[in-house]
């Protein structure tokens, strides 16, 4: 069937990943039941990884297809989806093993950096390569720490307060959705569309956080979201010439804003007040980034040498 162009884009960018993600989280929710028995083992968060990673991968395969050894940097995002899924499964299954978690995160960030910067690394001086890899590795891990703390700032009502709740799920999905808009608005429809696919895969997590508040799905989903969003932002930063440097930095900074909710004066406040402060802190940097993207768009139109002809 020859579907209209916008319908196909919607299917690739949103409907398919949302469907894959919904299937995974609904299956997890049904398996867990509405209220687990007190003596039942604590539910684990690994199904969250199966919502985000495969959801994103399904859209990626439709949009870009699969090549085992891609010739272009964007082609490695499919491999990043597999890596993100594996990482999310490990973190969902063994949430208490912090050293293992951070060691695997460091390796995953390095792999994404090497795959994304491969064309650049051969052109840069050795000192630049070392500085770039070290600096970006630290930036990636700080972003990861920020999304961890975002979950901690917005705990759920389940037995695991660090697993994040409905507000954290909405916050993460909002972060990814806003980032997708910023990537697309900065000049790469591909990165914007893939960001939209990631946001669509994250959306059902919020639904499940409301439906089954005891399920710590963000344990497995958040690592996958963090790695894939980081990879998309890295692509945008280095391969979308029109993107202002401040935009990816503001995206990576944004989750730290949610940490305002962890400040001592706010810790004892009602949950909705903490959630409001966290949301404001999260989205303010993204709003600033949106302003920069808009400004750059208007400037590009004003600089058009043929404008008015």
């Amino acid at each position: 069937m020859d579907l209209p162009f916008p319908v196909l884009r919607a299917l690739e960018g949103a409907v398919l990943p949302a469907a894959v993600s919904t299937a995974a989280v609904v299956a997890a929710g049904l398996r867990a039941g509405p209220a687990p028995a007190p003596d039942a083992p604590a539910p684990r968060g690994w199904p969250g990884a199966l919502a985000v990673g495969p959801g994103f991968l399904a859209a990626f395969l439709l949009i870009k297809g699969w090549k085992t050894v891609p010739g272009e940097v964007a082609g490695w995002l499919g491999h990043a989806a597999l890596l993100a899924t594996a990482l999310g499964l490990v973190e969902g299954l063994w949430p208490a093993r912090a050293k293992l978690r951070w060691a695997l995160r460091a390796v995953a960030v390095l792999l994404v950096l090497l795959a994304t910067l491969r064309p650049k690394l051969g052109r840069w001086e050795p000192g630049t390569v070392a500085a770039a890899l070290l600096g970006l590795e630290l930036l990636g891990l700080l972003f990861w720490l920020a999304t961890d703390r975002l979950r901690a700032a917005l705990p759920g009502s389940g037995p695991d307060p660090r697993a994040g709740g409905l507000a954290a799920a909405l916050g993460l999905a909002g972060l990814v959705g806003a980032s997708a808009g910023l990537l697309g608005g900065s000049g790469s429809a591909l990165m914007g569309q893939l960001g939209g696919a990631l946001a669509a895969a994250a959306g059902p997590l919020a639904l499940t956080a409301w439906w089954r508040p005891g399920l710590p799905l963000l344990r497995g989903a958040a690592p996958a979201l963090t790695l894939l969003l980081g990879a998309l932002v890295l692509n945008g930063a280095f391969y979308t010439g029109a993107m202002r440097t401040a935009v990816p930095l503001l995206i990576l900074l944004a989750p730290w804003g949610a940490n305002l909710a962890l400040l001592p004066p706010l810790r004892a406040r009602p949950a909705w007040q903490r959630a409001s402060v966290a949301a404001a802190g999260l989205f303010l940097p993204l709003l600033v980034a949106g302003g920069l993207v808009l400004q750059a768009t208007l400037a590009a139109e004003a600089e058009d040498p043929y404008a008015g002809y």
């Binding site: 010739g71 272009e72 940097v73 064309p119 000049g187 010439g241 029109a242 590009a300 058009d304 043929y306």
Partner: protein, 186 residues
């Protein structure tokens, strides 16, 4: 596009019997590498690359004709800055990743009054052998007495063959190329 240009140049050289093993340097200011692509299946849209460099060898024996051409992908120009930036992104040329488009000829044969040039076109990091027909436009003296020669090739490629598969329903897979080169004899 580069391949077409190369083929055109080679063919022109071979079609000029008075020349024997002459090497020409591409004069970018009098050369043109342009493309046309169908937009939304309703119209044909044109653009060009402004940074073109290379050399070609013209000889009466087609087997001795050759061309090497390099185009900077970032020099794409469609008379709209925002669109040019989009074309430079990963959606299309990904110029930060694939800085150049190039063509290097491997063989040439006469075909009527034109030359048929084979060579390797490298675009978006993918190299493929193509064959193009090259027309000799003319050969003669320049303003300072230097020898000049001009060639043109028109051909069509599929961008998906080169891994440029994004938005194929918005912008056609088939891309028409026009490579028109003027060279100055070294």
């Amino acid at each position: 596009m580069s391949r077409t240009l190369a083929s055109l140049t080679l063919a022109l050289a071979c079609l000029t019997p008075a020349l024997a093993g002459d090497t020409y340097e591409v004069d970018a200011s009098h050369s043109h590498v342009g493309f046309a692509i169908t937009h939304l299946k309703v119209s044909r849209f044109y653009g060009r690359f402004n940074d073109v460099a290379g050399t070609f060898v013209v000889d009466a024996d087609p087997a001795k004709c050759s061309i090497e051409l390099t185009v900077k992908a970032a020099s794409v120009d469609t008379a709209n800055k925002k669109r040019d930036d989009h074309l430079r992104s990963q959606d299309f040329f990904s110029v930060e990743e694939f800085e150049t488009i190039s063509f290097k000829s491997s063989a040439a044969t006469k075909k009527g009054d034109k030359l048929e040039v084979k060579g390797t076109l490298t675009l978006h990091g993918v190299s493929k052998e193509i064959t193009v027909e090259v027309e000799h436009v003319g050969t003669g003296p320049g303003m300072k007495g230097e020898q000049r020669a001009g060639y043109e090739a028109r051909f069509t490629i599929k961008r998906s063959d080169y891994g440029m598969t994004y938005l194929l329903d918005g912008l056609s897979d088939e891309v028409r190329l026009v490579v028109s080169l003027e060279g100055v004899k070294k």
